[in-house]
């Protein structure tokens, strides 16, 4: 009789393993609680710049308030969100992190305020531990806000700057931040990552224009920041502030390029030489004729410094590629060793 064998189905064992992995890596990710809005502190550094406050909603906006008009406008905007909350509830829980017995708001200021508008004093929230770093916190705020079209470019840039500073502070890494870093951290496309990178490193004129909300388009801002010459930048910036579309800005570049063609060609040639990582080793390449290696080896072994290594090569089959490769590697290693010792 054949020997008895038993095995679990591989589907089951695999499913068990996956369950464990998934549980470990997603622990706490669905933790949602209902918390009192009164216990939430709004983060003054949140990128969203609402001027309307909790008190304005609970007690009414004072006519003497210097921001009266803006607050009234914001209140009207909140009203429409409030109506939707009234009808459908909060679809996405707000995000807070716990500080003792209070919470600090990471994302969801408008949802909180709108809930107050309709008289809800509790709200659904995802709660993170209090040990959340500034970096993680800013990243969460970014992720939460990025999809919203009404966020101004200056708000986005100021939040990104906060993330970069937090990253440098946390890691002690003062190196320049690359587009790859943005792509990784905030999960945007390569194009946008590259745009943000350029705009973040823009000079003061462009920076000021963004801060004053004169430039509110990422593509345009990035295009201007990437221009090689200051005079081109100034021209393009002015065109941008005048409301010219991106196509027209590109024309400015085309005109100027004609004029400065010679300079540009030169700079490209120079760049080509620099392309790639700096070489730090010699590549030995490969040959198809084993005799070349045999000859090289013999030549070197004739040198009296190396002749004592001859015994390493007596068993080599000089017609076999892998044997010859091995022999040559040995030769290089022996020479290397000799140089280290010397």
């Amino acid at each position: 009789m054949a020997k008895k064998r038993f095995a679990l189905s591989s589907a089951l064992t695999e499913a068990l393993s996956q369950t464990v992995t998934s549980a470990k890596s997603n622990a706490g990710s669905l933790k949602i609680e209902i918390i009192g809005i009164a216990k939430i502190d709004f983060d003054p550094e949140n990128p969203r710049e609402l001027v309307i406050t909790r008190d304005d909603i609970l007690k009414g906006i004072s006519q003497d308030d210097p921001d009266y008009d803006r607050k009234v406008r914001e209140f009207d905007e909140l009203q429409s969100l409030a109506n939707s909350i009234k009808g459908h509830g909060i679809l996405n829980p707000i995000v807070v992190c716990q500080f003792g017995d209070r919470y600090r708001l990471i994302a969801g200021e408008r949802r909180c305020l709108a809930s107050l508008v309709i008289g809800n004093h509790d709200i659904k929230a995802t709660i993170f531990d209090d040990k959340l770093s500034v970096l993680k916190q800013s990243s969460l705020q970014w992720i939460e806000n990025i999809e919203r079209s009404d966020l101004k470019l200056c708000e986005r840039i100021s939040n990104l700057r906060k993330i970069v500073n937090a990253y440098q502070e946390e890691t002690g890494n003062q190196e320049e931040i690359t587009p790859a870093f943005f792509k990784e951290l905030i999960g945007c496309s390569w194009t946008n990552a590259s745009h943000y990178h350029s705009v973040l490193n823009a000079d003061d004129d462009l920076r000021l224009a963004i801060e004053e909300n004169k430039v509110n388009n990422l593509e345009k801002a990035a295009f201007i920041a990437k221009l090689a010459f200051k005079e081109l930048q100034v021209k393009a910036l002015q065109a941008c502030i005048d409301g010219e579309p991106l196509k027209n800005l590109k024309e400015i570049l085309a005109e100027e390029t004609e004029a400065s063609k010679t300079t540009r060609t030169k700079s490209i040639e120079r760049n080509q030489k620099k392309r790639g990582r700096e070489a730090t080793q010699v590549k030995l390449g490969s040959v198809k004729n084993t005799k070349i290696i045999k000859e090289l080896t013999n030549l070197i072994l004739e040198n009296k410094t190396y002749s004592k290594y001859r015994e390493h090569f007596v068993n080599c089959n000089w017609d076999d590629f892998s044997s010859v490769s091995k022999a040559f590697q040995t030769l290089i290693r022996l020479i290397e060793k000799h140089h280290v010792n010397a």
Binding site: K4, A7, L8, T13, L16, T19, V20, G28, D129
Partner: protein
Amino acid sequence: MTKVIISATNKGGDGKTTLSIIFSEYLSIIRNQKVLLIDFDPQANASSRHLELEYDPTSDGGKKPPIHPDYDPVNDKGWDGRTSIADIFYGKEMIPYSTNISNLDVAPAYSAQLQAAEETKREEVIEKIQNRLKEFVNLKEIQESYDYIIIDTPPAKGPLTRAAFSAATHVIIPAQMEKFSMDGIYGMMQLWKQETYSRGTSNPITLLGIIPNRFRNLVLHKAHFNELKSQKGISEFVTDHKLHERAIYSEILSNKQLPQNIFELPSSNIAREETEKLCDFLYGRMVNNG
């Protein structure tokens, strides 16, 4: 904080009740801890280990707890003298019964009432049931009275088992090394995973161990055991300590038998030895992992 250990698997006969009984007695007798054994299984077997349950004519083969020794018919108006863990679903006070073991109390089952909770289909009721046990074990009086709570669960994945998962700090899954039991492990691991998703890291539900039970020296049992042990991810949870198939485990659970529990056997007894080793291991894991 009181540790809440549940013994769970959706397959019947794998040893949930046996393990609940053994581990609660180990903690109270060997470790001298204050323990509450909660019987959350409508079959009420863990309860009948310590109490003389009465057959309940209103439910088929169901049982109800006896009159509580503290019941005073003159002064306790509005109480029929019985109390069970099902009372937490009816907004009533639950008063644990003491047992012959000094550190061990029991919150017995009331078959018909637990069965009603288990069979409910209404979503909003299920939600309430799920949270009620958690609220109960977190009551100040309970937390102050007990170091450990052991919960025996029904062989199902219904509202009662889910409620037990919500309340638990630790889970043990007994399993025979056979095909249907493996599916039971899988079912419980899903509940454990769901519960882990919805908890914060400060309040985890720890999988204390998958315990090979009723183990026999068969090619089948050894093959399944070795396979689980070789599977990355799952192997760390499968305990090396097994409980073998032995008549003594059934005998000792019969009423009026001597010795009354496994820990009264001489320490050289093979059943006591393997039981105590397993319990030592689980206890150590629990104490070390917080």
